[in-house]
């Protein structure tokens, strides 16, 4: 909408960019990608000494389009438009914001739907398993190309927060602040179990063709839909679903059958269908696996304190009261390890009924605290010109 895209606190019309990285990248799995592309968006202006750059890391189903609109006709802004823009917590008057689509994604960066240079066909299931560590490594190459030696901050929610954490541990000299929102230092068995249901839904769809659905002109749409439906339940909370749908029926009567009758069923189906039309099944498998594998303490003898002792940056850790996917206790564990490792950290648990999704939902305290922290970050480099 033209009017909205010109709102004073919107970054306005934005255009994705793409960079080709011809050097091979060795992945944590031991595999090597001979070359890759990263698609990304930027907002704001990089200052003369490149000290005001902020990296936004996206979550499971996210992408590079974090803020603004792609055209005047665009109905919806980027996924984190609530927090990125002039005067918003991540103030584009002060920061140069970079948001890439992660490797293995399906929105333009090299992923399973891309052409495998060895075969000339889509990678499909041959695309190597990617980890958070690999994403961070590829993002570091992007930083090199953009002339950014050190990020003022690396920021992310959920899986994005895990990337911020990994940056802090593995590139301590290249990051001044990490903002870790609604994340966890490792998934629980329950988290992994939900991911596994999602993956099984996809791989057991007859249209999956062992991952070579593109070559078979098929899409495992039912599987993707189910995966999204189960995922979506874990992003919301009992309270938010109750408020949004309650036990409302679509047409006020029981039909004593198994078609969609409750509003919540209709909503989940709508979300599932929409997602299955726009997301790649192999990418979904990869992203959920990256979540499962994430465990920065593992290479430090399962000692999270030792992992955090590698970091040099300051941290802001935020959790949400009704988040049961990555509940506040997980953030608290992370904070305890940071304190133990003598890192600078501030932590708050934001009251919200929105479950895990709360990190994307406008909330007065959340935005105000986030803004206060980012203003502090901005003071270190002086406002960008």
């Amino acid at each position: 909408m033209a009017a909205e895209s010109q709102a004073a606190d919107s970054v306005g019309i934005v255009e994705p960019q793409s960079l080709h990285f011809p050097e091979p990248i060795r992945l944590e799995s031991g595999h090597t990608l001979p070359e890759f592309n990263l698609v990304f968006e930027t907002y704001g202006t990089l200052n003369a000494d490149a000290s005001n750059a902020v990296l936004i890391c996206h979550a499971l189903s996210g992408h590079h389009h974090a803020a603004g609109y792609h055209s005047r006709e665009d109905r919806k802004p980027g996924w984190w438009d609530a927090c990125i823009g002039p005067g918003k917590p991540i103030d584009t008057n002060k920061f140069f914001v970079v948001c890439p689509n992660n490797l293995g994604g399906c929105h333009g960066s090299t992923g399973p739907a891309s052409e495998n240079p060895d075969t000339g066909r889509p990678y499909g299931p041959d695309f190597p398993v990617i980890t958070v560590r690999d994403w961070v490594k590829s993002q570091a190459r992007l930083a090199d190309r953009l002339g950014i030696d050190q990020w003022a901050a690396v920021i992310g929610g959920s899986l994005g927060g895990m990337q911020a954490l990994d940056w802090a541990i593995h590139y301590p000299e290249r990051i001044r602040h990490a903002v870790v929102i609604a994340a966890t230092p490792r998934l629980t068995a329950q988290n992994i179990a939900f991911n596994e249901v999602a993956r099984r839904a996809i791989t057991s769809d007859p249209e999956f063709h062992e991952g070579r659905y593109l070559e078979n002109n098929a899409i495992p749409q039912r599987g993707l839909m189910l995966a999204r439906m189960v995922g979506h339940i874990t992003y919301l909370s009992d309270v938010s679903m109750g408020e949004k749908f309650g036990r409302e029926l679509r047409d006020h009567a029981y039909h004593f059958g198994f078609d969609v009758e409750f509003q919540v069923e209709s909503y989940l189906q709508y979300q599932g269908v929409r997602f299955s039309e726009s997301f790649d099944a192999n990418t979904y498998l990869l992203m959920t696996r990256a979540l499962d594998y994430f465990d920065p303490a593992r290479e430090f003898g399962n000692d999270l304190t030792r992992a955090m002792a590698e970091a040099r940056c300051r941290f802001l850790v935020l959790s949400f009261s009704s988040d049961w996917r990555f509940a506040p206790e997980h953030s608290q564990k992370l904070v305890n390890a940071m304190v133990d490792a003598r890192r600078d950290v501030s932590y708050a648990e934001i009251d919200s009924d929105w479950g895990h999704d709360a990190f994307l939902v406008p909330n007065e305290r959340y935005e105000s605290l986030f803004r206060a922290y980012m203003n502090r970050v901005a003071k270190e480099h002086g406002d960008a010109g």
Binding site: N336, V339, R342, V345, S346, Y347, A372, N375
Partner: protein, 197 residues
């Protein structure tokens, strides 16, 4: 400079690790960070205070002091654990005190002395719960649910084998007058203790 900061400051070693339980808007930690280069954290439950700490650049961790989760910090993580004007507001001051000395080598505690003569007189004279400028709340809405006197506090320390390294009693403006020291439990409005195991 706030008078209570001046009282506490000499007891905090430069560069030491400090935890401030109930840190409020972070004034004390901000001061100790700048003047003593301490590495520290404040614990706070009030969202406005938390934001104010963040604005000041003070590390602040959201935490209800009444919850047992203080226990998740490791033993002896800190050199000094400070609790100013909060002991009387927690559900179990005895546990808070022992927890302080589990987390740190030394504790600094300040609290309003309920043995102050005006408070005694107030109750004696009016037959009602004392109120004063230090304790302005009515009995039913006060956050101060565990008020104690200087002698009560020292008895508690003795019971838990906690050693009192230093004690000062001051007036409301945190000034130490000769008559405060003359009869602390009767003439001191605010008690300031430095304790250890």
């Amino acid at each position: 400079m706030r008078a209570d900061l001046k009282l506490i400051e000499p007891w905090v070693a430069p560069g030491s690790r400090v935890l401030d339980l109930g840190c409020g808007d972070g004034t004390l930690m901000d001061y100790l960070q700048r003047e003593k280069s301490v590495v520290g954290y404040g614990l706070e439950i009030n969202p406005d205070y938390i934001e104010e700490c963040v604005r000041k650049g003070v590390n602040v961790i959201e935490q209800d002091l009444d919850e047992d989760r203080l226990h998740s910090f490791r033993d002896q993580t800190f050199d000094t654990v400070i609790m100013t004007q909060a002991l009387q507001a927690v559900r179990r001051p005895d546990r808070a005190l022992t927890e302080m000395l589990r987390l740190g080598r030394e504790g600094i505690v300040t609290f309003p002395n309920f043995g102050y003569w005006r408070l005694r007189l107030h109750q004696l004279w009016n037959g009602r719960m004392p109120m004063s400028s230090t304790l302005p709340h009515t009995w039913y809405n006060t956050p101060n649910i565990h008020l104690c006197t200087v002698r009560d506090f020292e008895a508690l320390c003795q019971e838990h084998r906690i050693r009192i390294k230093d004690r000062t009693v001051v007036d409301n403006a945190h000034r130490s007058r000769w008559y405060n020291r003359l009869w602390p439990n009767f003439l001191g409005q605010i008690a300031v203790y430095r304790v250890t195991r």
